[in-house]
Amino acid sequence: MAKSVPAASVKKIVIACEAGMGSSVMVTNQLKKKVKQANLNVQVEHTPARAIPQDAQIVVVHKGLAKMAREKAPWAVVLPFDNFMNIPAFERIIKALQNNTDIEEA
C-alpha cells in the first residue's frame, strides 16, 4: 500500500541529492516560488539524502537516490523524479496542498 501524508500535515518539503550541494540546490527555488505563488505556508529546503531532517514530511529526490532516501527517512513520503529540468512531483504537491488532499508515494 502506498504511503501517504494528508496535506494539512505537510510543514516541510525537502529536495535531496547525494552531497546536497548541486542538483537539489538548483531546483529548490523552483519549488519555493511555486509554494509562494500558491500562498502556501510550507517550508522548502535542500539536503543531502543521508541527512534528511526529521521534521520533513515529503522528500523529492532523483530516482537514483530514492532507495537511500526511503532508508534514511522512513517516516517521509518519498517522491522520485527522472529529469531535473522537469519534475512533475512539484505540480502534484502544489495541487494536493491547494485541494487539501493526501499526497501519496507514486
Binding site: M21, G22, K36
Partner: protein
C-alpha cells in the same frame, strides 16, 4: 571571496573528453582558491556513480558528501565548450557548459537558482553557450533572487 569570478570562468575551450572537462572545471576551482587539488578526484569519482548532466547542454560536476573537507570556500566554475563535450553518447547528451561546484554551505543557492532559470529555455541557455564575454555569464548567474535559502 566571490563565489563566481572572472578567474573561474573559461570561455571558448576546445572540445575534449568528459573526464578532461571535469578536470578543467575542477582546476578552475583550485585556481580560485576554493578547493584542494584532491577535490578533482572526488568530482571524477562522483560522476561515475551518477551523471551530473542536468539537461539543455549543461552538466554540474561536483564532489561527494565526503569530499567536503577538501573545500576551502564555496565556489562555482564555468567552462564553455562551443563544440560541446560528449557526456553520454548512448543518451545523446552533450554538455556545452560545464559548471564545477564546491559548496560548504548555502551561499551558492542564488547562483544555481539563476542557472536553473537560465537553462530552462533553450534560447537563454544558448546565450550562455555562445557568450564571448565572461561578464555576460557572471552577471546572468549573479542576479539577486527573489527567494533565497
Amino acid at each position: 571571496m566571490a563565489i563566481l569570478s572572472e578567474e573561474t570562468v573559461q570561455l571558448n575551450v576546445p572540445t575534449t573528453s568528459k573526464e578532461d572537462a571535469i578536470r578543467q572545471a575542477g582546476e578552475l576551482l583550485v585556481k580560485g582558491g576554493h578547493v584542494s587539488p584532491s577535490y578533482i578526484k572526488g568530482m571524477l569519482a562522483r560522476e561515475q556513480t551518477m551523471s551530473t548532466y542536468i539537461g539543455n547542454g549543461v552538466a554540474i560536476p561536483h564532489g561527494t558528501f565526503d569530499d567536503k573537507e577538501s573545500i576551502h570556500s564555496t565556489g562555482i566554475s564555468v567552462v564553455q565548450y562551443p563544440e560541446g563535450v560528449v557526456w553520454d553518447a548512448d543518451e545523446g547528451e552533450t554538455a556545452y557548459l560545464v559548471i564545477g561546484i564546491a559548496a560548504t554551505a548555502n551561499e551558492h543557492v542564488g547562483v544555481l537558482s539563476n542557472l536553473a532559470e537560465a537553462i530552462e529555455e533553450p534560447e537563454s541557455a544558448e546565450q550562455l553557450i555562445r557568450a564571448t564575454d565572461p561578464m555576460v555569464i557572471i552577471e546572468r548567474l549573479s542576479r539577486p533572487q527573489e527567494e533565497e535559502a
